[in-house]
């Protein structure tokens, strides 16, 4: 029986890789791309900056400025590769860890902070940025993304190079949710132009991938009749290449596609989590050798596509971003209580209005009473 086959097996032939952990450029029969030095420097910069922002998020949480932070550490390549593969009119539906994709959509990391500080649920305009709000209920966004993609198709925006596509992000744990399955069913029977992008970071909080599947996740796609590809999720070039191909397939009308980006969550699940309770440091050490940024740095150096000045300037940009983030965070205003009652409905609800008015009155009276020294 198949029970012996480990889902975590890092498939040799299965795994699309264009840049080895050692920084060697390798070639792939189906998914090769050419990148210019400038492009590669850009990808490097993206990854360094978003990692820096991520580390700052962690620090801000430790210092009590954020309630929680959800780190992306280790998943920079998976996210930047996919994010940079998107065309402006493509749409993305993130989970809650896709700060790197947000970055590629032009969303400043400051716009994410409110979610974790507790002042809002994301301050960007999801329609303008073509990047949906973070979705926390595992799997929900996959159906929403599929519906959106169906809409792209119904509006005739699919069929050629100018077509639109949607990409949907979710984790290895999410693959067990019924919603993710239903999304794949819908996408396949409506030929929806949606790329299902699963970041298999090996863990769903404390549960290893074996708790979700017996076989590699990309194989799920065959059961629905669309292609599934496993890509080295720590290889930004491979992620870019495979994502670009998949989005192109979708925009041309050959969707959906499933991508499994095989990567690793280098940090805790969130700042509330304590991974020492459930995983060994060995595993972490092994994955450190596959760092997504380091291999690009090595390659840039080897190819002489970047010099120290470049690396220094990226570092400076990163530090500036971090400082800006920190500054923004500590100065973020807290919304007033009227926010509780605002935008609950598009058309105002008399009931919510009454509750708001009563509460604001009460608060005012309370302030008066305090002013007057009474209870």
């Amino acid at each position: 029986m198949i029970a012996g086959l480990r889902a975590t097996t890092e498939g040799g032939a299965d795994l699309v890789q264009l840049l080895t952990p050692e920084g060697e450029r390798v070639h792939h029969p189906d998914f090769d791309i050419e990148v210019t030095p400038e492009e590669l420097r850009g990808l490097y910069r993206d990854m360094v900056l978003i990692r820096r922002a991520d580390r700052e998020g962690n620090a801000l949480q430790r210092q009590g400025q954020l309630g929680i932070w959800v780190p992306l550490l280790g998943q920079e390549a998976a996210q930047i590769g996919a994010g940079r593969a998107m065309k402006p009119h493509d749409m993305a539906f993130p989970s809650y860890r896709e700060h790197g994709v947000a970055w590629c959509r032009g969303i400043d990391p400051t716009e994410i902070l409110g979610i974790f500080r507790g002042t809002d649920h994301g301050s960007w305009d999801p329609l303008a940025a073509r990047f949906h709000l973070y979705t926390i209920v595992i799997g929900n966004q996959c159906l929403n993304a599929t519906g959106y993609a169906m809409g792209q198709r119904f509006q005739g925006k699919v069929g050629d190079d100018d077509g639109e596509a949607t990409i949907c992000f979710f984790g290895d744990g999410a693959t067990s949710q019924g919603d993710v399955h239903e999304a794949m069913v819908w996408a396949s029977v409506y030929d929806a132009p949606v790329v299902f992008y699963c970041q298999n970071n090996q863990w769903a909080i404390s549960e290893p991938i074996e708790r979700q599947t017996r076989v590699p996740l990309y194989q799920r796609a065959s059961g629905y009749g669309f292609p599934g590809i496993r890509v080295d999720g720590n290889d930004v070039l491979a992620c870019l290449a495979v994502s670009r191909w998949a989005l192109d397939e979708c925009r041309h009308g050959n969707g959906p596609v499933l991508i499994e980006a095989f990567t690793y969550r280098m940090d805790a699940h969130t700042t509330s989590d304590d991974p020492t309770r459930y995983r060994l440091s060995d595993e972490l050490e092994a994955w450190k050798l596959k760092d997504p940024i380091e291999r690009v740095r090595v390659h840039l150096v080897k190819q002489q596509w970047a010099d120290q000045e470049f690396f220094d300037s990226v570092q400076a940009d990163a530090d500036e971003l971090a400082a800006r983030l920190r500054d923004f965070c500590v100065n973020m205003p807290t919304p007033g209580p009227e926010r509780i009652f605002s935008e609950v409905y598009a058309q105002e609800s008399p009931q919510v209005r009454a509750q708001r008015d009563e509460f604001l009155d009460y608060m005012a009276g309370f302030a008066d009473a305090h002013a007057g020294g009474e209870h």
């Binding site: 929900n140 929403n144 935008e343 598009a346």
Partner: protein, 343 residues
């Protein structure tokens, strides 16, 4: 939205035809959906069997034939999928009308309704609108097997961010479904399936009442009776019967269950001093509980008797041979009226 609204353009499709006709609720809903599909190309109808079959109750009969498979979608069999993709379509700018085949089958889609549909407008600070209508044929009385006779409206009324309405007659059905489609908020739209084939005169040139408003259907000074959906007819019949005994019931069709429009109920109770609520749903933590809780507060000094509730029991819906006993009927309404008057 550039398209004219139902109020601006109250003439039904097929103008030139006589505007007044006798229609069943099924037909009225069908006409309403047709009008909505004609008025706005962003409207799509979706659900299980809504296409060729026209839905198990034929509410969507002929729509796929006339509007095509991209406007009227036979979906795969999964309610979370229906609601979840409808939300995605709404984010893209569509106005989906989902059919849930029977009340008891809305629960697989409950998570998408509660976690996404109800919250996206608030979450996005109004940037995302999700004008999805979820049509649910509800209630009992048709001799069906399990899960086909439930009254789940309270689950939705308890969920902030949703609007919940119930129609009780063909005329309202015709207008309310169009207004629901035009609402920029998600609307859970309950249709009393055992009233589907009852008829009324529909004037498609009339001006409809607002969607989120309750309505006094019969005036009377003895006891106020508030109800919705399938119970409206029962309560009107009870009022006729009571009148023979000299008891005048004031019957309010609630129409909107969330937000509630209790103004007419409260006005009425201030006059009658008595309120009976009627609903097929189990009473515990329900819409009728909410109304009782509010009315005892708003009308504390007017009430001459406690607010009484005539409801389904706090049990699963029984095998259908027992539904006549389970469902509140004219006699149980009158019994409550008597008890109210006896206080």
């Amino acid at each position: 939205m550039a398209a004219p609204t139902v109020n601006e353009r109250a003439v039904a499709p097929g103008e030139g035809r006589t505007p007044v006709q006798t229609v069943t609720m099924v037909k009225a809903l069908n006409m309403g959906l047709r009008a909505a599909l004609e008025r706005d190309p962003k409207v799509v109808v979706m659900g299980e069997d809504v296409g060729k079959l026209g839905g198990v109750f034929r509410v969507t009969d002929g729509l796929q034939k006339d509007f095509g498979e991209q406007r009227v979608l036979d979906t795969p069999l999964a309610e979370s999928g229906i609601i979840g993709t409808a939300i995605g379509l709404a984010i893209r700018g569509f106005r989906p009308v989902c059919e849930i085949q029977f009340d008891g089958f809305v629960f697989p889609g409950f998570d998408q309704i509660v976690s996404q549909l109800a919250k996206l407008h608030f979450r996005s600070q109004g940037r995302i609108k999700v004008p999805v209508v979820v049509r649910i044929p509800f209630g009992g009385g048709i001799g069906a097997v399990e899960h086909h006779s439930e009254s789940p409206e309270s689950y939705f009324a308890h969920t902030a961010g949703l609007r919940v309405v119930a129609c009780s007659n063909p005329v309202d059905a015709y207008w309310m479904i169009q207004q629901a489609v035009e609402s920029d908020d998600p609307v859970i739209f309950f249709e009393p399936k055992r009233r589907y084939y009852e008829k009324a005169q529909l004037d498609t040139t009339a001006t409809p009442d607002p969607l989120f408003a309750s309505r006094v259907l019969r005036q009377g000074g003895s006891v106020t009776v508030a109800c919705y959906g399938p119970m409206v007819k029962t309560c009107l019949e009870a009022a006729t019967a009571a009148a023979e005994d000299g008891v005048e019931l004031e019957v309010v069709d609630l129409r909107t269950l969330s937000p509630l429009d209790l103004g007419p109920v409260i006005d009425s109770v201030r006059r009658t001093g008595r309120l009976v609520l009627a609903s097929e749903a189990p009473s515990e933590s329900s819409v009728t509980a909410e109304i009782a809780a509010r009315v005892q507060q708003e009308c504390f000094y007017s009430l001459e008797a406690p607010v009484l509730r005539v409801t389904g029991f706090d049990t699963p819906y029984p095998p259908s041979k027992l539904e006549e006993e389970f469902l509140p009927d004219l006699d149980r309404v009158l019994h409550a009226v008597d008890r109210s008057l006896a206080f």
